[in-house]
């Protein structure tokens, strides 16, 4: 019995020794391989270097990383169900690059063939955060009344919950000031039927009865439009617009301060 155990022990020892020798040999082999590899990283000859770093005459790798781009979005172009058959528009266009853009924005309204209200803004836009652009420039109010120029500074971007937001502060002649906030959201009824609620608010710093403006919250438009994207660029829509005037502005408007209109129009981009 004892001798049997001895045999087993001897056998185990031999096996372990063999295994150790094998591991050793493997290590040696690995080592040899490494040494061989180190040899492979042979000195580089002048010819090798000349071939690997050809003189390209300063020509760099061409990339189209940040090409000049442009976008035109006629967000609203609509006929409204109201006296004088109003036609309203809202245009957002830019030319520029990934993080810097020149914006042109315009909105307005015509009734009975006359321009009731129209403005154009030209703004320099710079992306300053993940979701936000800073816009600075000028706003020209063409109607109503004589032309009026405002300096503008604002932000534009996407708030959490995918809320589109534009907020712009304005300073005009004689210390006049105003603030406009536009916010919208898009609900995908399907991937082509898109419901878009939009709320636009305007405040004025001072009253200006000649232009029908009262200090404080002055105007609010709540629109709900349902569009169908025939293709991304072309989407007819129908909707409802609730236009209200508030406070002093409402007082100055002689009763025309609360309007609900049906609208039908087309949204076009290119």
């Amino acid at each position: 019995m004892v001798s049997l155990l001895r045999h087993v022990h001897a056998l185990l020892c031999a096996t372990l020794a063999l295994a150790a020798a094998a591991a050793d040999a493997q290590q040696h082999a690995d080592h040899a391989e490494h040494a061989e590899h180190a040899d492979q990283a042979a000195p580089i000859s002048a010819d090798d270097r000349a071939a690997a770093f050809p003189d390209l005459g300063g020509i760099g790798h061409m990339h189209l990383e940040d090409p000049l781009n442009r976008s035109v979005l006629l967000d609203r172009f609509e006929s409204q169900d109201d006296d004088g058959n109003p036609v309203a528009w809202d245009l957002d266009a830019w030319v520029g690059r990934d993080l810097t853009k020149l914006w042109i924005r315009s909105d307005g309204e015509r009734r009975d063939g006359n321009t009731e209200q129209a403005d154009v803004e030209i703004l320099w836009g710079k992306s300053f955060a993940r979701w936000w652009d800073l816009l600075t420039g000028v706003r020209e109010e063409l109607d109503p009344g004589p032309d009026e120029t405002w300096a503008a500074v604002g932000v534009r971007g996407t708030a959490p919950y995918r809320l589109g937001l534009e907020a712009t502060a304005y300073v005009g002649d004689g210390g006049a000031s105003a603030l406009r906030v536009e916010t919208h959201y898009e609900v995908l009824v399907t991937n082509r039927w898109i419901l878009r609620p939009e709320l636009d608010l305007a405040w004025y710093g001072q009253s200006d009865p000649s232009r029908g403006r009262g200090a404080g919250l002055a105007e609010g438009d709540l629109g709900i439009r349902l569009r169908y994207e025939i293709r991304r660029e072309v989407a007819p829509y129908v909707g409802v617009l609730l236009a209200r005037k508030f406070g002093r502005t409402a007082d100055l408007s002689a009763g025309d301060d609360d309007d609900t209109r049906l609208v039908a129009g087309i949204r076009v981009s290119f």
């Binding site: 770093f53 996407t158 399907t190």
Partner: protein, 594 residues
């Protein structure tokens, strides 16, 4: 969910039944222009390639394609390991061109990247490439100039080994997958920069919400919507360009034109799959047949038998199949976002077809997919692929980082044990070109990937790939370079570490050194990352050598590491192989000198 039920839409996806060669020419190309042909096989060690334009009709409309010797794809090149090859490339385009030999180890001035390895090939000029073939397997070649790759300039490249293969087969076919669009690629790129979700018609709708609320409860559905809405992202963003713009091709044929590869019953067939697309990931299967994967990116692996595999842009896989029990089998390659597919047939005779499967339903991304450490909400057992990360950084790592400047994020890197939070470099912070950062990335090597989990089929994963050889270098990397894949979905900006190519310093490697590159995906998209001139030796979770590749796919929420032996001096391109991501700046120069 909105599908595309209309006939025109179906024709667009399925393509024309006629092969490209039978194209009728319309107003978008010169009527005198001959139509594209199907690729020939060129076997000589001296080859003449001529790059030009021809009319191609895959959708019912003819467009100008960029072709080589008149064909789309370009001719299949068949060479022999050990030979020195000479390729004279003549440019008959009105603009500069180039050819890059994807996955080949060769001198830097033969690599074909304009502005790094050479001047490019001017119109009317002929450039002669000459290099020895020091490897064997399935590779491909493509233009590295502007958007020519999207227009058709890609072809398969097969190098036969000197030594016998470690497996046997009776015949073989190249299966080159690609994506074709009728749109001008530059216009498409500008469109993505204006409207990054233009081609995504799979966004979740009110109807989807109602269904989810019924299934998971209103509060769960609301909470899930809230998470995405807070991030201002879309869980359906699986592909930037979908079947709304693409017709997917197999060997240059639209699905309806049914590319057919022949076999005789009882034969074992080798299929050399190449993803030569510009922007598409494919999930490939052959219903009724198992596939034994024997090589990845041209390099032999321990055979692994699967029902399906995912092939990222620029990857290649060689599989063996033994068709039996039927006369025809469909090769089905659906796009990752399930908006279209390429299709062909293995058959005993031309003209036979087998049933074409329905596309799978789209599976939306979850917060866990993006590495946000949220509990798995897709009912999948993640235990196999969300194991704590144990890549032990070498002791020299911190010192290296300190001295490495722009190559690595400025912050200190801690050991990523236990799935610890990842750190992000200063260049990613307050950067309007970076919209997201992952918080708990993992290698996910055993994860089949989104849309393939628990689908009842055995799906290949990176964890299944084991090179047939031991780590050919064997040295431990001396240092680790960590790079984060970054971008802004909505602005369609792409970069490494928040720094696009134009603003980035080259990544310097010392000739002969062994480095580890650790990639962390800080975006919600999958990026196939390709290093020119040198191999990418992918590591497993424990830091061991797994598989040798030339293109490493990086799904969202992943962190993966590979070793690189800097044994080739020169200026090498290193980039995301999604064409529009590369052009947008997810690109670095790697400079090896010593």
């Amino acid at each position: 969910m909105q599908r595309f039920p209309s006939l025109t839409r179906r024709r667009f996806i399925e393509g024309f039944a006629a092969s490209a060669g039978a194209a009728s020419l319309g107003r978008f190309s010169n009527a005198a222009e001959p139509a594209v042909t199907e690729p020939e096989v060129l076997r000589a060690a001296e080859v003449d390639l001529s790059i030009g334009e021809r009319g191609a009709n895959f959708t019912g409309r003819t467009r100008l394609a960029t072709v080589v010797n008149g064909s789309l794809p370009a001719p299949t090149l068949r060479w022999r390991e050990g030979d020195a090859v000479t390729i004279r490339v003549r440019n008959e385009l009105p603009e500069p061109t180039s050819i890059h030999w994807h996955g080949l180890v060769l001198p830097a001035n033969m690599d074909g990247v304009p502005g790094l390895s050479f001047h490019g090939i001017a119109p009317g000029e002929t450039f002669t490439y000459r290099f020895p073939l020091r490897q064997s397997g399935t590779y491909w070649y493509h233009s590295h100039s502007a958007f020519q790759e999207q227009l058709g300039l890609y072809g398969a490249l097969v190098i036969e080994p000197r030594e016998p293969e470690p497996f046997a087969y009776d015949r073989e076919h190249v299966v080159l997958l690609s994506d074709w669009t009728d749109r001008d690629p530059f216009a498409l790129y500008l469109l993505l920069k204006r409207h990054s979700d233009y081609f995504n018609y799979q966004k979740r709708t009110l109807g989807d919400f109602t269904r989810d609320a019924k299934r998971d409860g209103l509060s769960a559905a609301l909470a899930e919507r809230r998470d995405w809405a807070r991030m201002r992202m879309q869980p359906s963003d699986l592909a930037d360009v979908s079947g709304a713009a693409y017709t997917y091709l197999m060997n240059g044929r639209a699905p309806a034109a049914n590319w057919t590869g022949l076999f005789r019953p009882g034969e074992r067939v080798r299929l050399r799959f190449v993803n030569g697309s510009s922007m598409s990931t494919f999930d490939v299967r052959i219903p009724g047949l198992q596939m034994t994967v024997v090589a990845a990116d041209g390099q032999n692996v321990h055979p692994v038998t699967v029902d399906e595999f995912r092939i990222a842009t620029a990857e290649t896989f060689d599989v063996l199949v033994t068709p039996a029990g039927a006369d025809a089998f469909t090769i089905f390659a659906q796009s990752l976002d399930r908006t279209g597919h390429a299709r062909g047939t293995l058959a005993v005779a031309e003209g036979l077809t087998a049933p074409v499967p329905e596309m799978d339903r789209i599976v939306y991304l979850t917060m866990a997919d993006m590495g946000h450490g949220a509990a798995a909400s897709d009912g999948v057992d993640h235990s196999s692929h969300s194991a704590p990360l144990v890549i032990a950084p070498p002791a020299t790592e911190h010192a290296e980082h300190a001295g490495h400047g722009a190559a690595a994020p400025a912050s200190e890197h801690t050991a990523h044990g236990g799935g610890a939070a990842v750190e992000h470099g200063a260049s990613e912070q307050r950067n309007p070109g970076v919209d997201m950062q992952t918080t708990a990335p993992a290698p996910k090597l055993a994860d089949p990937g989104i849309g393939l989990r628990n689908n009842g089929r055995r799906v290949l994963t990176y964890g299944d790939l084991h090179s047939l050889f031991a780590d050919p270098d064997g040295r431990e990397p001396e240092r680790t370079i960590e790079l984060h894949l970054t971008g802004h979905m909505e602005r369609f900006m792409w970069s490494f570490d928040g720094i696009p190519f134009a603003s980035a310093e080259p990544l310097d490697l010392r000739y002969g050194e062994r480095v580890r590159i650790r990639l962390v995906n800080d975006t919600m998209m999958s990026h196939p990352i390709h290093l020119h001139g040198m191999w990418s030796d992918l590591e497993d979770e424990a830091g061991g050598f797994l598989v040798r590749k030339h293109t490493v796919s990086m799904p969202p929420g992943t962190q993966r590491s590979y070793r690189v032996t800097a044994d080739a001096i020169g200026r090498w391109a290193y980039h995301c192989h999604l064409l529009f991501h590369m052009e947008a700046g997810m690109f670095r120069e790697v400079r090896v000198d010593g």
